[in-house]
Symmetry: C2
Subunit: 347 residues, 2 copies
DNA sequence: GCACGTAATGTAAACGTTTTCCACACTCTA
DNA sequence: TAGAGTGTGGAAAACGTTTACATTACGTGC
């Protein structure tokens, strides 16, 4: 009984025959219901439902010349786990897409040299009719490529060094860290260290700018020895914190460009018997789920991943619908969420 | 210059004309190169390369009656982050698939009632020609459905309550926890608690069986008060550990059905000034990246996510190629990796 | 030198849609 | 009552492939 030969899939012809109309009418019922009389419409719909008719997507796509699919490429570093940020984005995208009748094609590729090839495969192979590009870089060859070829896409994040306008949704990392830094300054901190993200990433520059701006406005000098760059992994946060704490003069607060590194910092503190939020304040960025459960719970800047994904879909749909680029550029201001890892400096 | 109208995409006709052959020949060059003379073959290939010809996938799929796409549905719980296990699986799948010329269609849906509908959409809509179903359950309606309809698929995990054979790749959780438990017993532990996974998940039963088996063989009684069930989240591990430690009689070791919960347990221990591996031993399951960086580093059972994904693709390909189900059932034995969170019981 | 297999190519028919015409039957309006 | 609209539905042509079948040309064996 199982594994039986699949029944001859019902096609539009079958429905038409059964309903006593032409295939054109069946198609119309499904695509332009108002162009067919109510009686035949219901009759056809009834037959279609009874037969369980589902238009063959390939016939449809071929005829329409549309892929009805949007693409997302996820960089998967060979050694480490891929960033779970992408999974959240995926979840956000998924919802809106299925509503719009679009499919989501996911490609994974090692970050680096192969990446652009991956995009090429998708667009030149006509696999997708639009793309979401995530984690933008300052020089972003992917964006340059897509712009060059006129492929519809939306970016999650801006790309500062690309002059041609393109659709994006960005979270204002500058604002986020401006406020975070102000908060530390208000608490009385003056010796603030900064663990940044790889500088080719676009958000790295913004978050850094927010930090600098707040420091400058408060006329507090930034100590170059306390400005380091990590690779976004927990491990790198741990290592860099060790380094900062080994220096002759140590900071009273550490701002980290993402939560994973901040969690590494907390671990490094604990390893020396220090406690985040007491001897040293720590603030992260992202508000990943773990942030609630660290010890102490991590103060951070909240990124609404899921909502971002949903909005990106809307924007891509709009773009495909012909909405001009300039109306598809948004920057959201993130919220600072204070938990337990920040406090006044201990003198 | 950017956003220019996309050039008229080159089709097979164009290549044929340019090379002075029929379209059939062009198609043959690409699909059955041996059936065309070397001279014309190279000529056609040359022209195709020059023009950047890429067969339109929709034409191809329509003609061949194949979707050339395999599907994966990821459950995305509304409140929490989706499990990053799926992202790793994705990465593993991705590699093999693109080599095989298959696309990967990803759907996300809230777990529960909607899930089967999601699968139906994919198969009945003829979007995919095969599926990977992950995180199998004991009663798995997804598997029942796919079997019923004769849709090719491979499962990551078995499904104990389904009698019809189906292709799967499973990691032997029973072996894994059998060994982990033996290890704890050998260290001298007798008061061992068990934080299990939701019992509808298939792996939950296996891991539990491994624990029980080892305990029975050692003639150590399992204390029912120390057997609890979590929901795989760090939070639930934390909460359940609190409960275990509040009881009048406390365990000297806690075995957790996944790493996330184990990490929650470590946190709970720390919250009361205890240290994992000293006052209480903790062993997890999965070997997620964080496991290396907890304090102390987590002892756990390693799951080779990436390799699993790669092998699943091979198996699915084989299945599509007609290899019989019985040859596509594998169980891998996992490795116990001991780090710092286990040690002899303190008397 | 004739039949015959074989290698190389072309012709044309699918695959399942959507959509552009066109035809027909009405209903209005003049 | 003729003419023009209007609502409804059918016929047929695409969309870009692959492939079954037909055709040609060429050796080979007798």
């Amino acid at each position: 009984m199982s594994g039986r030969i699949s029944p001859p899939s019902v096609d539009i012809r079958r429905v038409a025959a059964e309903a006593g109309v032409s295939i054109a009418t069946v198609s119309r019922v499904l695509n332009n219901p108002e162009r067919v009389s109510p009686q035949t419409r219901t009759r056809v719909l009834e037959v279609a439902a009874r037969l369980g008719y589902r238009p063959n997507p390939n016939g449809k796509r071929l005829r329409k010349g549309r892929a009805e699919t949007i693409g997302l490429v996820i960089p998967s570093p060979p050694g480490r786990f891929a960033d779970s940020f992408f999974l959240e984005l995926l979840a956000g995208l998924g919802e809106g897409l299925s509503d719009a009748g679009l499919d989501l094609l996911v490609a994974t590729c090692p970050p680096g040299s192969e990446e652009l090839a991956c995009y090429r495969r998708l667009v030149e192979g006509k696999k997708v009719e639009g793309l979401v590009v995530a984690r933008t870089r300052r020089h972003d060859e992917r964006i340059a490529y897509l712009l060059e070829h006129g492929i519809p896409f939306v970016a999650h994040g801006r790309s500062d060094l690309i002059s041609t306008p393109f659709p994006y949704l960005d979270i204002d990392g500058q604002q986020g860290f401006y406020r975070a830094t102000q908060h530390l300054l208000n608490l009385g901190h003056r010796r603030i260290a900064y663990i940044g993200a790889p500088h080719d990433l676009n958000f790295a520059a913004h978050r850094w700018a927010g930090f600098q701006q707040a420091m400058a406005e408060a006329r507090v000098e930034v100590n170059p020895a306390w400005v380091v760059e990590g690779d976004l992994s927990e491990e790198s946060g741990y290592r860099l914190a060790q380094k900062l704490l080994d220096a002759p003069e140590t900071p009273t607060a550490i701002l980290c460009a993402n939560d994973l590194m901040a969690i590494g910092v907390l671990r490094a503190l604990r390893a020396r018997g220090l406690k985040g939020g007491q001897e040293v304040s720590v603030i992260g960025y992202d508000d990943i789920p773990q942030a609630q459960y660290t010890d102490p719970p991590l103060s951070t800047v909240h990124q609404p991943f899921r909502e971002t994904g949903q909005r990106l879909v809307e924007m891509l749909l709009a773009r495909l619908g012909g909405v001009p680029v300039t109306q598809l550029q948004e920057v959201w201001v993130p919220k600072l969420v204070l938990r337990g890892s920040d406090g006044p400096p201990q003198t």
